[in-house]
Amino acid sequence: MATDSDGQTCVYKNTLLAGLWRENPVLRLLLGMCPTLAVTAAVKPAFTMGMCVVFVLVCSNVMVSLMRDKLKPHLRILMFTLTIATFVTIADLLLKAFQPDMSAALGPYVPLIIVNCIIIARAEACASKNPILLSIVDALSMGAGFTVALCVLAGIREVLGTGKFFEIQVMPKAFVPWAALSMPVGAFLALGFLLGLVTLITKKRS
């Protein structure tokens, strides 16, 4: 007979795995498309963006979960935006202080995390209804799913577009880089193929 503890473990496990595949924000829910298309020309900025989103997701989910009982329904979106904007500003300052080159490379896309649908969606769907620990697990899961999706997309674009991976030459010298993949059009093409692949795998599984 299943105990309450088993049920709780199952909930945490399901939440943790949801963001990585079943409810992956980029590949299944198609959220956060702006950074997905804009910062995936190389793995390094994509990974940095992913880490920034994880930081903001965890901090905003913690804050929203803490004040969930006090939230007025008609003011909740305002409170979410205020919370998210605060942590995005802090993430931007941290990046400027400790990773100035990445901060310059990501440019306006770090402040634009404020309007990233993933974060406000998790605040609304999970953190405003669940206790703090589950909200943290949800944030880590969704953040990891977002980061992995960005890095996979960036990896494809960087390897085929420049012959490098994480700025290290991996393709033979004879390889002619597909420059289009490093350009904005390459982001749409690579994302389209990746989404098609994910849909194919899902259909085969079901």
């Binding site: 804009a38 004040m67 006090k70 939230l71 007025k72 003011l75 305002l78 409170m79 205020l82 919370t83 904007a85 605060t86 500003t89 802090i90 300052l93 941290l94 400027k96 202080a97 400790f98 100035p100 310059a104 440019g107 306006p108 402040p111 904005p184």
Partner: protein, 205 residues
Amino acid sequence: MRSIRHFFEQSWLLIVASFFFGLLIAVTNAALSPRIEQNRNSKLNELAGGLLPDATAFTPVAETIEIQALDGKQQKLAVYRATTGSQTVGWVFQVVGSGFADKIELVVAVDAAFTSLAGFDVLASNETPGFGDQIKYGYYRDQFKGAPTDGLTLVKSGDPATIDAQIVAITGATVSSTAVVRAMDHYLPQVKTQLQQKGLIGHGN
């Protein structure tokens, strides 16, 4: 009285959260701003070195250089003397323009006599990638190398390879191109006058 009570009942969390988050940002900013400033100075030195490759040292000018910024406010400007040994090879300072999305911060280098530009580089900008951020690229920046420090004008068509006071705008990035030229035209004459007044460059230049 009831309406005030209703207001506080509805919005107390918002008010408290605003103060708390404001404080959090202020504390973080205070803690990190020295390091951010240090990073900016390192980048400024690095960019200045690229603009004046002959220079071996960049020393801040001891005299106070006060100019009027684009927004009309008086500001103290840090001007660096670029030297090779004891010889002055140029001057470096920062100018701020008003770009499409945000401020554009540029590092500008001029020759020792303050007659022609040695070039500029972008210290910070949030211009649209693929459009306004083209001001960072050589095909726009190279037009400024050797251009006069007085009376730069922006033109929509022309030969960018010709070095003169006419700067050819980037197609699709007119606002950003204009911002750079406007910032130069605003800052350069003021800095030149100040340096002349302080006796750091000759009046005949």
